[in-house]
């Protein structure tokens, strides 16, 4: 049976998840501003790919959040 994670291990994992989520959220912020600028400028071709990319980031973030709960339990 795998031994429970130590506090140091949990801290490292939570730090990693936190920075990854933060990076993805900043990427989403950039995507939103760039898409808004393009849409207001009449370029609609980028709207759906950007929406899918942002949704992909959300999916990764949700998976990472699940991992946070798993670390808490473990």
């Amino acid at each position: 049976m795998r031994p429970p994670l130590t506090r140091e291990q949990k801290t490292t994992i939570l730090n990693g998840i936190f920075w990854l989520v933060l990076l993805l959220v900043i990427l989403q912020l950039w995507l939103l501003t760039a898409t808004m600028n393009a849409w207001l400028g009449g370029q609609t071709a980028v709207v759906w790919p950007a929406t899918l990319a942002s949704a992909g980031c959300l999916a990764i973030n949700l998976w990472l959040l699940v991992r946070v709960f798993a670390v808490d339990r473990g």
């Binding site: 429970p4 130590t6 506090r7 140091e8 949990k10 801290t11 939570l14 730090n15 998840i17 936190f18 989520v21 933060l22 993805l24 959220v25 989403q28 912020l29 995507l31 939103l32 898409t35 808004m36 600028n37 393009a38 849409w39 207001l40 400028g41 009449g42 370029q43 609609t44 709207v47 759906w48 950007a50 929406t51 942002s54 949704a55 980031c57 959300l58 973030n61 949700l62 990472l64 959040l65 946070v68 808490d72």
Partner: protein, 181 residues
């Protein structure tokens, strides 16, 4: 709550009993479950919520882009070309009554038309034909008169250009060109 509570000892990060913990942990008045890693976890949850809000924003833009129809804009007459003296500016509304635009006779051969809404925060821009620019007084934005592109201040997108046609000496607005650069 004190750490000396019996059932909390099993929650020490290293799994050791209270008697084996360092003195600073015995003295520190914060419960282990409420220690700093809880704050970080909550902040991560908040970030994921923000991530969801950004996706909602993207979906709103995508839905709004679907609403835009590809139907051609109406054609409206802006009057006779000969009635517009060199150096004059006329205001008109195109394509709807909520879209103020400027018709500018910059020189003998130069006829320009732009949306009057600044691309920063939609304030009305004011043409200055002597200095060849359009000025937004709200936040000191400047646009080049010939191209409508931003030259200074907070605006980043050019002014939408109204496409003009001259037929039999009469000026018609036929379309609006949105631009990003």
């Amino acid at each position: 709550m004190s750490l000396s509570t019996g059932d909390l000892t099993r929650e020490f990060p290293d799994g050791q009993p209270l008697s084996a913990q360092p003195q600073w942990r015995k003295d520190f008045p914060t419960d282990v479950p409420e220690d700093d890693h809880v704050g970080r976890r909550d902040f991560t949850k908040f970030l994921v919520l923000t991530s969801g809000a950004f996706v909602a924003g993207q979906c709103w833009i995508a839905a709004a882009s679907l609403r835009n129809s590809d139907e051609p804009l109406p054609e409206i007459s802006l009057g006779k070309f000969a009635d517009l003296p060199v150096g004059s500016v006329r205001e008109f509304r195109y394509p709807t009554e909520d879209d103020p635009c400027l018709l500018i006779r910059a020189s003998e051969t130069e006829l320009l038309a732009y949306s009057q809404k600044c691309t920063h925060l939609s304030c009305a821009v004011i043409p200055n034909l002597e200095e060849r620019h359009l000025h937004c007084p709200c936040h000191n934005g400047f646009f080049d008169l010939e191209s409508g592109r931003p030259t200074a201040g907070p605006p980043r997108r050019p002014l939408p250009r109204v496409i003009l046609e001259i037929r039999d000496g009469e000026i018609f607005a036929t379309d609006v060109e949105l631009r990003t650069v």
